[in-house]
Amino acid sequence: MNTNYDPQAEEINILQLSDSFFPTGMYTTSSGLEALFYSENKIKNPDELRTLITVYLEHQIGPADCTALGVSYGCIEMADINELIKVDRTIYSMKLIEEVRNASVRSGTQLLRCVNYFLPGNEFITKFQEAIKENKASGVYPVALAVASQSLGISKYNSGITLLYTFIVSIIGAALRLGMIQHLDGQKLIHELKPSILATVAKNINRPLSSIWQFTPGIDIFQIAHELMPSKMFIT
């Protein structure tokens, strides 16, 4: 349970966790965008990128990762580490592409390590890290984010916003570096996606684990294509 809750600090804690400066390595991921860049199905303009990200949010990150994060909050409040491990294993098994799975686990475990460094002694972070060390849990990112943000007094809803925001920043950052869009387009896209972020979190954050789902076969295919690329700039 969180024993360090400071309502005055919640906003600044959200800013810290959602900052691209926060060391989770997400700048190394393109979520398959790099494979799309080198395929015949190129993103031709910011509108197409916005459509792709919206599909990601509404059909994968929302109903899968965001729901897992919401359920994790309930487990932490009940101090139920076994149920949290069940959520971890469920969302881990839903990450179908190996390099996506590995990147999520690496980001999650490093997130926990960093928060534990500046907020040592949190009981639930310690328990979850022990479960990871014993290979009972993977440390996949949405569950790790729930544990970390709850320890910092961030509400479940705001943690969901953080999850989706960090995701779209990482994919838009990749699009910028790939030259698909320009820097002003990137900020415009973030602005335009705000309603979608809010609606996706509201729709998915309180759903039970039994209702978790995702369906993005097209995205899965180009993420597999990325995994098979002989030469690449991004991990995913």
């Binding site: 400066f21 700048y27 190394t28 690496r106 490093q110 950052g173 990749a174 690449k232 991990i235």
Partner: protein, 218 residues
Amino acid sequence: MSSKRIPRVGIGGPVGSGKTMLIEQVVPLLYLKGYKVGIISNDVVSREDADRMRRNLATEKGLMAEDLVIGLATGGCPHTAVREDPSMNISVVEEMESKHDYLDLIIIESGGDNITTTFSPALADYFIYIIDVSGGDKYPRKRGLGIETCDLLVINKIDIAPSVGADLTVMDRDAKTVRGNKPYVFVNSRTGQGVNEVAENIIRDVLFEETPKALVKH
């Protein structure tokens, strides 16, 4: 998460300065002394360097298992991957440590980048920065964090100095001024000239001349 930290050497330097070839020369020298090494190669846009080292050191020479050479993409941000946010590298290093606890050393090669590159102490215990003479003999006196702060400065490709108008005595003088008491070494990684000194520095300053794990009698 790892049980025991294996000593780590970070190697950084500009594109084409010879980071990969230096590793290809140093690893066999360490192997001859009995030290077992794992390699993580951060590439900017490909796995070319990792594939080459795997083929050369593992497949052809048999100095290590093939899964001990790992290529890692950096999202186009090689200096970030070893300094500001080394989280992905740390994860991969720890995976290597937990799977291969018999290793004596892990070498982390940065993607080619600029003269401000440094390694986070959280990632590497010892930092080698490599430049080559083709950038001109002004390179050491231009300074930069990499040249100034690294534990060992390596100046490579000394054989082509006359062809590119680089005066090695100037580089030697400036390196001495910029580095103070910290070591630097001139090498030709293609022939292996000077590379033994790099290996000796690693054995002395990183491995503290300890007996290789494989040779320790239990």
